[in-house]
Symmetry: C2
Subunit: 422 residues, 2 copies
């Protein structure tokens, strides 16, 4: 019960990974110049003890190379020493310790939003990995594979209070819950391992799609029996009524009509990855630039992502130092094909007062969070002017355009300090 | 003594990360809804015990937030539980266990070359991290910072025998050695943790540059004293005479003249990352496509990277299934500025016999590797037809073009199986 953030795309063929499965008995010879290890398959199959219960001696002859190399557990595991993961929350939640890597940060040493989204995906999949339910797919359970079902995300919301820095140790918690009758919610919390301070929170909702018909599906009883024991009623983000995201049209101030899915955008499920959508949403170009709209430029200058806007190269460093993305909501509407041509639209809020739903939700969470208002050295939410933007990704059609995803982003001044009190 | 794969770019200003350093006494309050931990700074400063000797109680008042969050060790460490790293090779080498993450693989579940390059950078930096020599920079030692010196890479060579798959546990070894009088070599080996089979090997050479004058520098005695105790005479790749890479000109078959460094291409040292160079090298477009050159298309279809070539979208899947990048050599010539416009040229080898230096080097290593010729189910090197390409990245100037990097790539049929013998 995980799901990766992907929108399935239509590709003409399926691909059987690594072709040959091996069905005979196997002896292993080693071609390592610097290693003197020589292991038999029995040793290899047993090597994952504690983290994997995959192999028994009778099964070995039927293990594929892929199975030997991946060692996906077939039973629930409580600890995974390689992934530094463990089961929490009375046996149903997952916590992973991760270090922010050098290539996950941007020029200011802080992790990019893209890196956080990648870590959400990774921990979600590792949660399913630990559950013993993971089948040969991208987060699909055995029951889902039997029913040709895959996960598709319908909504994703992320709030970032503080961006972690290079070398920082994080704890990422993730868990799942029910969402309506046929859906699933997955939430995340990112905390500093050293201080326990919450850096980011996220929530997402998922539904099942038939891989062949590409139609949404009810959750079969077989699948419900697998995943519902893992559901808990706890939320990373408190939000009573999700805000409505308006649909943009050609009057939007920023646009980029030159976006194409590439092979490199496809993940192992041959889907365009969610991270790519976020890149696209922010790859907008300025159609016109009246000086009164200078505030809206702040939108452009924070996400350290690939962008085609020449304008980006000329933004003063002081903007980059002072603002960051604080919240994002994505609503997925339809699949995006690998041959589709995608257009990205963006519109800044005209009214910068705090009447916006995302902002209210953000504010509410901040107020609900104990201690956050008490720090003297901390710019509390009431000091923070934030800027909102509405986004739309759509497929350019001959007769009509089709929506892929609607989005909202919030931006605010960077906090000068972490919430330490003096 | 590590160094990240970066080419310094000229940016107008320096940026002091996270502005304020905190100099008073600090009490910590926690704003975590799901965590009941409340730690004092003493606990936090002591939390890294075993992996960090950074903080003593007398130092605490002077720790910056960044120091508290990063906890870079000031003394040599033997084990880093968070990074799963340990010191090997009689105290001077570094080994890190990593799991191939879901977002590090391409559509065929195998790690991308880009991911391997990222892991090389990460382990190199973590090696310096463990040494206690890491200063506040991107792999620079304390002595280097005192002398305004940064590392720049002059050459990088990677050979990939097998691409690891999603979920696979790897051991990455890295170590350094002398390179001439003023340079340093850094090597890497990637092995399967389960079998000990070597998947990839890499070597690189580094020199020092004065950060202010942008001129190459001799290695000061102070720096030599820091890093030379870590030097060992061991090589991941056996190569007596590095092959010469010819310089391409406008007659090259593939070209992309539309490449611009973007903010998102800059790493925390405000440099264009080496990984970006590899992307650029392979972001070439076909100027013409005579059908007799169909073999050369194989170059385009393997690296799962961002590319602007529409052509890529239409390559038959059977090519993708059957070929992969097996070797790459990069020779760095000069810095690339953030305002430069970069052109990427590429030329396939006309003569596909095994007379090429890279190929010979590859072949020699394969033969030197015990056991590799013995596997019956394994396509040995003599069965493997490989395809070579020469690359050039240059800055388009008004009067003349300036070279940034020359490259060679080798491509070969994917092995149908790992080297197990039956």
């Amino acid at each position: 019960m995980a799901a990766a953030f992907s929108c399935p795309v239509f590709l003409p063929s399926t691909f059987s990974y690594n072709g040959n499965r091996y069905h005979g008995r196997i002896k292993i010879k080693i071609n390592a110049t610097s290693s003197t290890k020589v292991k038999t398959l029995n040793e290899i199959a047993g090597a994952g003890k504690g983290s994997s219960s995959l192999a028994t001696s009778t099964e070995i002859g039927h293990l594929s190379q892929e199975q030997i190399r991946q060692r996906i557990p077939t039973k629930k595991q409580l600890v995974d020493p390689y992934r530094q993961g463990l089961i929490i929350e009375r046996g149903v939640g997952y916590r992973q310790t991760v270090v922010v890597r050098s290539y996950e940060v941007g020029p200011y040493k802080t992790a990019t939003l893209e890196s956080l989204l990648n870590l959400f995906q990774e921990t979600a999949l590792n949660h399913v990995w630990m559950s013993g339910l993971l089948s040969n797919g991208f987060g699909a359970t055995h029951g889902m594979v039997r029913n040709n079902l895959i996960w598709v995300v319908s909504r994703m919301q992320v709030q970032v209070d503080h961006y972690p820095i290079w070398g920082e140790v994080l704890e990422i918690d993730t868990w799942v819950g029910a969402s309506g009758k046929n859906g699933m919610r997955r939430d995340w919390l990112i905390r500093s391992q050293a201080t326990g301070i919450t850096y980011a929170r996220a929530t997402s909702t998922w539904v099942m799609m038939n891989e062949k018909t590409r139609r949404l599906s009810k959750m079969p009883e077989e699948v419900r029996d697998e995943i519902s024991p893992w559901f808990i009623d706890k939320r990373a983000i408190n939000e009573d009524v999700p805000e409505k995201i308006v649909k943009l049209d050609d009057n939007a101030r920023y646009v980029n009509s030159d976006l194409k899915p590439k092979r490199s955008d496809l993940d192992m499920n041959h889907h365009v990855n969610n991270v790519k959508y976020v890149r696209w949403m922010l790859e907008v170009k300025i159609k016109a630039l009246p000086s009164i709209y200078i505030n809206s430029l702040k939108f452009h200058i924070n996400l350290k992502i690939i962008t085609t806007s020449f304008f980006l190269q000329t933004i003063p460093d002081k903007f980059l130092e002072s603002h960051q993305l604080s919240g994002i909501v994505l609503e997925y509407r339809r699949e995006c094909g690998s041959s589709d041509r995608v257009q990205s639209l963006c519109q800044p809020d005209e009214d910068e007062t705090l009447t916006n739903g995302v902002e209210q939700s953000l504010l509410k969470n901040m107020i609900l969070t104990p201690g956050i208002m008490e720090g003297n050295g901390y710019l509390g939410p009431l000091d923070v002017k934030s800027y909102g933007y509405t986004h739309l990704l759509q497929i350019k059609g001959d007769s009509k355009n089709e929506e892929i995803v609607r989005g909202r982003t919030r931006w605010r001044k960077k906090l000068s300090t972490l919430p330490y009190s003096s």
